[in-house]
């Protein structure tokens, strides 16, 4: 018998039904009120000039443009250590104790950064269902750089500030009675009950400044694949600094709420055993891609996986990582299923996958990158005045490729888009 409590994390959920700006920041019975001046103070950084926050909520005839990252407000309860380890506190392994979640609210940064590609989310109309922001209350942070600050410093300030703001908002609910208490046991590290052991293999984009991802606060670019407890994600161990590929982004919000992790947890103990998470960088050199892919497959074999769901972040280059990794897993006898956004041209007749695996064959589709979506005019837009991609006013009716809609083709499998053959 062991004396210490079983590893695991307790998610204490506080639902956010109504939001407002007010004199004080508080959470009470589903109502989240935020003091704009306090929030702007929380974001203060020598690299940032003016900061403005505003709410943009689901159902409004509104649009958010130039979206950079989105973070779910979360805070640790007493004795739980630090949320966003390596960013807001020491980089100590996380994923245990209690984590408070303000569910239904998202903190969003929007504006210009170098290399960022135009990302758009509508809060109503046909595109609202295509983005996680479309069904949320979004506290949007707009900013200007401080005079003389480098863009690198502005980016780092935004990333830290967004985590700080998210933690600060959630701390308003620490004493509130929860709407739900969810026990999240750690993964089944050992084989035992005869159910197939299935893991999540998550490739994350690591292409240098503005296209980078941070694990425990450090760029993941030079790392080998790492086996993690998925509960570490719950506490913000993986955060995004990747502002390319709007529809193919893995924002911090979707690492905190990893869809494949959720889907595997959902079937844990019934159809399978959720056996852990392997995160892998997406290097740009072919030799490194091969090294990382084979290493990831070895790690999965060592963890005793019977099968894996493989995901990516980004466009064509990332398909090569997917194909290599799926094939490396299959070569070791581990069936691999990949999540791909199809890039089949506007009319859907092009070859859907840029680099297809040669051994692995099972792929789930998250939609077509090139298919055009019509967005109606909106009453207000936050994040910028124009949509640069099509050079139109931000409130105008827009014809955009799905590729420009924030998380619409989520490679982590958040969305409900797929592709089907037509007559």
């Amino acid at each position: 018998m062991r004396d210490d409590p079983p590893p695991g994390l307790t998610r204490i959920v506080h639902r956010v039904d109504t939001v407002a700006l007010g004199d004080e920041t508080q959470y009470d019975a589903g109502v989240l009120t935020v003091s704009a001046s306090e929030a702007e103070t929380v974001m203060t950084d020598p690299a940032l000039g003016e900061v403005r926050v505003s709410w943009v909520s689901a159902g409004e005839p509104a649009r958010i443009v130039k979206i950079l990252d989105a973070v779910e407000p979360r805070a640790k309860g007493l004795g739980g250590g630090g949320i966003f380890p390596g960013i807001l506190g020491p980089a100590k392994p996380q994923g245990h104790g209690e984590t408070h979640v303000l569910q239904g609210a998202v903190v969003v940064a929007a504006g210009f950064l170098p290399r960022a590609q135009e990302a758009v989310a509508d809060l109503s109309g046909p595109a609202a269902a295509l983005s996680p922001l479309g069904s949320a209350h979004n506290l949007v942070v707009e900013f200007s750089p401080a005079p003389g600050a480098s863009w690198e410093a502005v980016e780092a300030a935004l990333r830290r500030g967004l985590c700080r703001l998210a933690a600060w908002l959630a701390s308003a609910a620490l004493d509130a009675p929860p709407d739900a208490v969810e026990a999240l046991p750690g993964p089944a590290w050992q084989a035992g009950d005869g159910l197939p052991r299935v893991g999540a293999v998550t490739n994350i984009q690591t292409q240098g400044s503005y296209k980078d991802t941070f694990v425990y606060g450090q760029s993941f670019g030079l790392s080998l694949p790492t086996l993690m407890d998925p509960n570490e994600l719950e506490d913000g161990a993986v955060t995004s600094g990747q502002y390319g590929h709007p529809a193919l982004k893995n924002p911090t919000f979707l690492y905190q709420n990893h869809p494949v992790v959720a889907a595997l947890r959902d079937r844990d103990g019934r159809d399978l055993r959720f056996a852990g998470l392997v995160v892998c960088p997406e290097p740009v050199e072919q030799g490194r891609k091969e090294l990382i892919s084979e290493h990831a497959a070895r790690l999965c074999a060592a963890a005793g996986l019977d099968a894996a769901v493989v995901t990516k972040e980004g466009g064509g280059n990332a398909d090569a990582d997917m194909a290599l990794k799926m094939d490396a897993l299959e070569a070791l006898g581990i069936p691999a299923v990949g999540l791909f956004a199809e890039m089949a041209g506007a009319d859907g007749t092009g070859p859907p996958v840029v680099v297809a695996p040669t051994r692995a064959t099972a792929m789930a589709s998250t939609g077509n990158y090139d298919q055009v979506v019509s967005l109606p005019a909106v009453g207000r837009a936050v994040g910028g005045h124009r949509v640069d991609l099509v050079d139109r006013p931000a409130t105008a009716p827009l014809e955009l490729p799905t590729a420009a809609l924030y998380c619409a083709l989520s490679p982590l499998g958040w969305g409900r888009l797929t592709c089907q053959e037509t007559v």
């Binding site: 299935v198 740009v284 064509g316 695996p357 077509n368 409900r416 592709c419 037509t422 007559v423």
Partner: protein, 340 residues
């Protein structure tokens, strides 16, 4: 009853052969030429209410497809059939473009031609069924077209079993379950022994055979890039992703691409290093040395550029064809195409 308009070329309309290739579009009520046999195969449920034809050369001129479509729409069809065009290239292209225009106008459309006809690539989402290689195969080709037309008229998808030779379009749809949940379903299907379970049919790209080697010392060489390198300010607004165009610019005579005069607008990588030294994208410096040393006979004075970032395979293939034609006209024997 399904109202059908049949599109054919001047030859099958009986107007004339190559001498009549420039005639403008024209129209007659009912079936004409091969349409008579087609009408017999389709009756009585479906009727060819009109036939539209055009000279093969005229059909490739700007605006011709619109003229043809106007005649087609005047007959108020439910379905447009085009061909069979066999291996006739201009006729196949016209069949493809006319049916694509009909499809864009909301009319069901179907073309028939041989799989080697270049029109197959232009048909986009419009179904194309196979015909034989020449008019000697008219009978079975019409039977296949008629069977496919019946199926399409009842809104059933056409597949390889119907003789379809282009892939059906894939359209995005919202389903009940998230992608991650569907991926886990596929895992369980695989573990349950279903080796074929997938949502995306696997395609193999056609392998490209390398061209035969050339003697560089005797070759005129052109520099090409998909690295998005354009004159500073991007005067012609080349796209940073999903390019639909390529551009041509003169190379500076001094053999040097000065920093500040050129920039890369490629959206798929950090362009800092490219802008610092544009030769990192387009190696004009080394190529000029090679020309001076006689290692290559001469350098083409222009470079061709596009952006290879999420570019559709269809557009990329078109750029390749256009570049090859352009360079062949310019007497170029070899190219250095830099990839980023």
């Amino acid at each position: 009853m399904t109202r059908i308009v049949h599109y054919i070329n001047q030859f099958f309309a009986g107007v004339g052969a190559e001498d009549a290739a420039s005639i403008p579009p024209a129209c007659a009520a009912g079936p004409v030429g091969p349409g008579r046999r087609l009408a017999a195969l389709l009756s009585p449920e479906h009727e060819i209410v009109a036939t539209v034809w055009c000279g093969d050369d005229h059909a490739t001129t700007p605006g011709a497809v619109d003229e043809i479509l106007d005649l087609i729409r005047a007959a108020q069809p439910d379905l447009v059939l085009a061909g069979p065009a066999f291996t006739s290239g201009r006729y196949g292209l016209a069949c493809a473009r006319v049916t694509v225009a009909a499809g864009d106008a909301g009319i069901l459309a179907l073309a028939a031609m041989h799989e080697d006809n270049p029109g197959v690539d232009e048909a986009g989402a419009i179904p194309v069924v196979a015909s034989g290689p020449s008019a000697r195969h008219m009978g079975p080709s019409l039977e296949r077209l008629a069977a496919a037309a019946r199926k399409l008229a009842s809104r059933e998808p056409l597949t390889g079993e119907d003789g379809r030779i282009n892939r059906p379009a894939r359209r995005a749809v919202l389903v009940d379950r998230a992608g991650a949940e569907r991926a886990v379903d596929l895992v369980l299907a695989r573990l349950g022994g279903d080796q074929a379970a997938t949502e995306i049919p696997l395609l193999r790209f056609q392998p490209v055979s390398p061209a035969a080697p050339v003697d560089p010392a005797a070759a005129a060489v052109a520099l090409l890039t998909e690295g998005g390198l354009v004159p500073d300010g991007n005067p012609d607004r080349l796209e940073s992703a999903r390019a639909t165009r390529w551009l041509r610019y003169p190379l500076p005579t001094g053999g040097e691409l000065a920093a500040g005069d050129y920039c890369s607008i490629h959206g798929g990588f950090s362009t800092v290093w490219a802008n610092e030294d544009p030769h990192r994208i387009l190696p004009l410096d080394v190529a000029t040395d090679l020309e001076r040393e006689g290692a290559v006979a001469r350098l083409h004075p222009e470079y061709l550029v596009t952006t290879g970032n999420g570019t559709s395979v269809g557009n990329a293939r078109r750029f390749g064809v256009e570049w090859a034609a352009e360079l062949r006209r310019a007497g170029i024997q070899a190219v250095i195409l830099t990839s980023t």
